[in-house]
Symmetry: none
Subunit: 125 residues, 4 copies
């Protein structure tokens, strides 16, 4: 986690968890860390950890059994969409922004093509 970023910590952790779901590391029905353990893992306050689970729950990604713990939802559809939604958001931001700058489709493809390679070299990405 980047405690200096202007992106709130709880958003960063949420994205982290969504990534683990998107990549299949977290599977449907799995138990998540307890709020206290998550607080330790990410060195954040337990309150912040609680908030994270509450957000994930309102998004329908998790559910809570009282006194037992918090679990990844079993609705696989929901989970499958996460990767797609995250990709879509990135894509739309990109295309929209580039269109505003009057880039053509071909320029976009070229620039992606060219820089994707560079990124692998520089390990910036």
């Amino acid at each position: 986690m980047d405690f200096v970023s202007n992106v709130p910590i709880y958003i960063q952790v949420i994205n982290d968890i969504k990534h683990e779901i998107a990549l299949g590391i977290l599977q449907p029905g799995m138990k998540l860390l307890s709020a206290r353990d998550m607080a330790i893992k990410y060195s954040i306050n337990p309150n912040t950890a609680n908030r994270i689970y509450q957000e994930l729950e309102t998004e329908g990604i998790c559910y809570t059994k009282r006194g037992v713990g918090t679990f990844i939802t079993e609705e696989e559809e929901k989970l499958k969409n996460i990767r797609k939604e995250m990709a879509d958001e990135l894509l739309l931001d990109f295309i929209r922004g580039m269109k505003k700058l009057k880039f053509s489709k071909q320029e976009l493809l070229d620039i992606v093509n060219q820089r994707f390679e560079e990124c692998e070299d520089e390990k910036l990405c």
Copy 2:
């Protein structure tokens, strides 16, 4: 301007101005609106308008003649880079994000190729 967005108003306006520069609408040496007029144009608080000019100055995009007004810099190099820098930021955000989601280069090209067209239809972009 979107007053409800999480993106601060002053950032939105700054981006708006940068776009006008990137697209050549604002040319080197041109006089910008007075802070008061800018406040009216964007229906924002005059304080916010002042802040915008301060930010643009520290980025070296504008300079202020006291009692006269604020002007676009005459250093053309600076201005030429703006479009490139904005594009680069968009590109890096995009590639970095998609790599985290384990998209391959080919998938990226395909998805850009496909969605660029769709965006034209939907007018969402």
Copy 3:
């Protein structure tokens, strides 16, 4: 039982048992399940099962013979009131809530009249 609901499990089970009493399925003097069997029947923790019997006892609905088991009280008056009390609580919550929303008596009767039928169709109730 709904393990995700905000309503505590032990309350849900208690209500379940009260219903069985209200409908005459459980009769005065009948032996209830052992805490262990109840735990199995409802797939809950044995501690929770114990708590349930404690609550029912303090309400005077059950009594426990140590080493023998837990039994429905033989005071029939007590049992007869259960259905009435449960109905009353539902009724008061309803009327109080609807009055706060400025529903008139006639509106209440109409709405109950109309929706009671619908519920039978939808099987939501």
Copy 4:
């Protein structure tokens, strides 16, 4: 507010606000109290006040202008539904519960009819 109730304070306040909307006291676009002032009005902690506005926002009932304040949504449809939704929830709880207790439709109507009057006398409601 009832600080002893098991209903969380923030839920109580949310319901309070929803009632004011349902009854037309709070109109579309109106500015709500600042979080600090709300904290004073209800004698709660400012954090709790913040939380309330965040909940209302995720429900789409309010929106926030950064640095300006929180406002009732202008989507009148949304607001019109609030009274209906609140009434519906009460109604369903009631009908469902009474059906479980094997009350017939006529009994329901009778009991509502009879007790509605009583409530007016007793001022319990």
